[in-house]
Amino acid sequence: MDDLKHTALFDLHVELGARMVPFAGYAMPVQYPLGVMKEHQHTRDAAGLFDVSHMGQVILSGASWDAVARAFEALVPMDVLGLEDGRQRYGFFTNDAGGIEDDLMFARRGADLFVVVNAACKDADIARMKAALEPDVTVTPLTDRALIAVQGPAAAGVIAAMDSRAGNMAFMDVRDLNLDGVPVWASRSGYTGEDGFEISLPEDQAEALTRTLLAQDGVAAIGLGARDSLRLEAGLCLYGHDIDAGTTPVEGALTWAIQKLRRAGGDRAGGFPGADIVLGQMTDGATRKRVGLLPEGRAPMREGTEVFDAAEGGTLVGQVTSGGFGPTVGTPVAMGYVDAGSAKIGTSLWGEVRGKRLPLTVAKLPFVAANFKR
């Protein structure tokens, strides 16, 4: 653990009794004394506070918003130019084969673009952006900012009590707020399927504000274990597991994130790495697809579980990429890739667990309905 990086909240995690584990080069809290199951339920019932400061925060700036947005559109298949000030979108970097190099959030802050990327990919992402965008666009990693998320039905009340401007933010709105004297960049978004906020703030004020937030009614510190079960129930991808450099947005069932004007026939169609492959698959379909997988029994089907189309013999049709127990659903839940012919919702398949074929059903995602502020 000695060579692991620490976030600004490391000492607080230890003080709160967290079990610290290595994650993407950082020592991160996997759970607190409450435990994964209760932390998960607490987030769905009240509010959970997550330290996600290991993620990469980057500002792109240039001569104008148009210049920055058009440049960034060469790296992602999203409508960046059309993003209004104070709004955020989900996106991903693609490679020449149409695979996903990382998924990300990007927000417009005046003429600048604020990008949040995964911890494990951030060095490569920053290098990719610098190589592709500089010198016209300046790529500035924000190494002195922390990032926390407050998620759950009680989150809005807590944040709005500290700054009333938070109350009328809609899902994916981004605003500058002042929380207990700390100037923050808040977005109404998250990774749990619940309403909530992701809050970027100066690192040197992170511990004080986090202590203040944790002192509010209903707010508890939540670790990476519950973050994983919450996002799995919400049907959200974990990069490196459910999507990676070898999976396309079409295979990954993420075409909803590609706006119409970047698709075939759109005003700014293509023009991102692997566009021919991604747009081709959008027309012709892909040979496999990411789907929800609902085991029928109580045995969790974990990442790597092979999926067959028969209880005995049959054909290997896919593999689980994320799986575990869904505390809100009350049963095991999973997602994974299956051949296109087996991807229809309701299809009966079998997962092989410890040599035994156990029944599962292709299921609609998310497993737990999203509770966003629309």
């Binding site: 996997v30 759970q31 994964v36 199951m37 045995a299 969790p300 974990r302 575990g324 127990f325």
Partner: protein
């Protein structure tokens, strides 16, 4: 009660050994969501994998602590796996076994020895 280095406990009851996992092991595992028990009547050797236990985090195997025959399993655990967290050294026993070689018990620790073992 005797304790193994694999964090199991054994308690003698009517000439059989009742086997479960320790409070310490249950805490380390976290919330248990699934328990797969062996068939009654299975003949096992020491260190055979006899029970699969899954927590929210991972799957673990419970090994047979000694040679013998599984005579009874605690089917309540299949329906209510969280019992393992609630009462690991009581109601959440896994199985009972008739043991072949009582001398295999000699290596196990008493409670004080186990507490020292887990530090």
């Amino acid at each position: 009660m005797k304790f193994t280095e694999e964090h199991e406990w054994l308690r003698e009851e009517d000439g059989e050994m009742v086997v479960g996992i320790t409070i310490h092991a249950a805490e380390q595992l976290g919330d248990v969501v699934f328990v797969e028990l062996p068939e009654e009547g299975t003949v096992v050797s020491k260190d055979d994998e006899v029970v699969v236990i899954e927590s929210v985090k991972a799957a673990s195997d419970i090994l047979a602590p000694v040679d013998g025959e599984i005579t009874e399993v605690n089917s309540a655990l299949a329906d209510n796996p969280s019992l393992v967290n609630e009462d690991p050294q009581g109601d959440a026993w896994f199985f009972k076994m008739k043991i072949s070689d009582p001398s295999q018990l000699d290596e196990f620790m008493d409670e004080a020895g186990y507490q020292k073992f887990i530090g």
